[in-house]
């Protein structure tokens, strides 16, 4: 009798566990519409669907969306499930799956599955339908895979922790959605060294720009070798030559100023009325400059320089500014720029040594000679 009671308890527990398994909650479902990602992070998709059933639904969904093999029969769907899941569902199970998928949300997916007598197979009445809200062609999906791989390559170390976190969530979902994607394989490598000083402030500076919140921080000038506490009304984050900068209206300078991330200490958000800078001013601020730091009291001007043949190839291949024009001759090439001279331009010119000679203006020629 005791044995019978124990068997009863055991069966009861098994039933409870199976029932629990059937109540698995699925999070982080990616919904892609018109190539914009909407990640349902806070809202759990509560479905009383077992994980194995959900995996079958995904296979059924992909088979029904396959434009190269329209109107699959139930046997073909069964084979697809067997190939994808290593488990052959019965035809009864698949018919039950169709019924469940057709049920309205939140119990089902409201899937417009129909049987076409003429073509002897199943299809979606709405050809753009998908249980994941994906209305993309296979070509679109390939493009998204590529975009995600690029994001992974350039995004991983360049921006904030929270961005990385969000990106990883997308990538995890992407791997789940497209298991063939090999996102671990690096195809693009961009210049980025972790541990850059000041980069830990990326998030607060980004939020300050986004939410138009004034900031207080301490700035150390490498040139003047001096600390200064400033209040800045930030407008833009800029990357140039793998360095990051904050552009904002500085109360102390009463003008727009650029601050290198590496020279910013302890930024703090302030409850102060934001002084806006017009979009035109911001857009034009870096328009006529190579780099970020203009040389004081130097207006926009024509800069003419000569380069050797080898160096001219680089300048021709990678123009440094939209105003750049060139005229070749046998000994090299003469380039012209319409620019506000900058610290970065001088640095670039110096980097080519005797392979580059400034012809105009005179003061720049003298400056580089020194």
């Amino acid at each position: 009798m005791i044995l019978g009671f124990l068997i009863f308890i055991l069966l009861f527990l098994v039933r409870v566990l199976l029932n629990y398994d059937a109540k698995i909650y699925y999070h982080s479902v990616i919904c892609i519409r018109n190539k914009i990602f909407f990640i349902y992070l806070s809202k759990f998709l509560k479905m009383a669907i077992s994980k194995s059933a959900y995996r079958r639904y995904k296979v059924i969904d992909s088979v029904l969306r396959n434009k190269s093999r329209k109107y699959p029969s139930i046997e073909e769907i069964q084979t697809a499930c067997e190939n994808a899941l290593d488990l052959k569902p019965s035809l009864d199970t698949l018919e039950k799956d169709f019924r469940n998928m057709k049920m309205p949300e939140p119990d089902g997916f409201d899937a417009p599955i129909a049987y076409c007598r003429q073509n002897r197979g199943y299809h979606y009445k709405d050809p753009n339908f998908s249980i994941n809200g994906v209305s993309l062609s296979y070509k679109d999906v390939d493009s998204i895979k590529e975009a995600l791989e690029i994001l992974q390559s350039i995004g991983s170390s360049r921006v904030s922790e929270s961005f990385n976190y969000a990106l990883n969530k997308i990538l995890v979902s992407y791997k789940e959605e497209f298991p063939d994607g090999n996102s671990m394989r690096k195809i693009i490598e961009t210049e980025s060294i972790s541990g850059s000083r000041g980069f830990e402030h990326f998030e607060i500076l980004f939020l300050a720009c986004k939410n138009k919140t004034p900031l207080s921080f301490t700035h150390y000038s490498y040139q003047k070798r001096r600390f200064k506490s400033v209040i800045v009304h930030p407008v833009l984050l800029k990357e140039f030559d793998n360095f990051w900068y904050l552009l904002g209206y500085s109360e102390g300078h009463n003008a727009l100023r650029t601050f290198g991330f590496d020279r910013i200490y302890e930024p703090m958000l302030l409850n102060r009325k934001f002084i806006p800078t017009s979009a035109d001013i911001v857009n034009n601020y870096y328009k006529d400059i190579y780099g970020v730091y203009p040389i004081e009291n130097q207006p926009k001007q024509e800069i003419v320089f000569f380069t050797s043949t080898i160096v001219s190839n680089y300048f021709e291949a990678y123009p440094i500014h939209g105003s750049q024009t060139s005229k070749k001759n046998d000994g090299g090439c003469v380039f012209k720029l319409q620019l506000v001279p900058s610290v970065e331009l001088l640095k670039l010119f110096r980097s080519y040594g005797s392979e580059l000679i400034v012809m105009q203006p005179e003061w720049l020629f003298e400056e580089l000679k020194n």
């Binding site: 207080s216 301490t218 150390y220 070798r225 001096r226 600390f227 506490s229 703090m268 302030l270 409850n271």
Partner: protein
């Protein structure tokens, strides 16, 4: 301005000698007073020399005579420890923490060593007018 907020003052003041760090900001929180400094190594010292703070550094509120002693320092060691610079071109950003001071108009001294030499980090008559403060979010 409400008194349970954190209030920031932009100061940018030199000390009582050229060798002192720049006094950059004072932050009055309901829990503590934080003072930010910036120091640039000096040419006259070998490899830029060293810096450190006295454990007995205090804030003096001139109006009341109240003295509040240093509770914590970040970016700078407390004596007998020293931070040695590696070159004459180095710099150091550091902060000192003291107990909270009232969020009312006041004038303070920051004293590392009373009647100290020019090498000691002393700052006198720093005016904190609440109207000049900005609330930190």
């Amino acid at each position: 301005m409400k008194k349970n907020k954190t209030i920031l003052f932009t100061i940018n003041k030199k000390g009582h000698s050229i060798g002192n760090p720049d006094l950059l900001r004072i932050i009055l929180s309901p829990e503590y007073t934080k003072i930010d400094f910036g120091y640039t190594a000096k040419e006259k010292y070998i490899s830029g020399g060293w810096i450190r703070m006295e454990k007995t550094t205090f804030i003096e509120i001139i109006e009341t005579g109240e003295r509040l002693v240093l509770t914590q320092a970040t970016g700078i060691p407390i004596r007998p420890e020293h931070h040695y610079f590696e070159s004459k071109k180095d710099w150091r950003y550091f902060s000192l923490y003291f107990p909270a001071i009232p969020q009312t108009n006041s004038t303070i001294n920051i004293i590392e060593i009373e009647n100290g030499t020019k090498n000691d980090f002393n700052y006198y008559t720093i005016s904190l007018k609440m109207v000049d403060g900005v609330e930190v979010l």
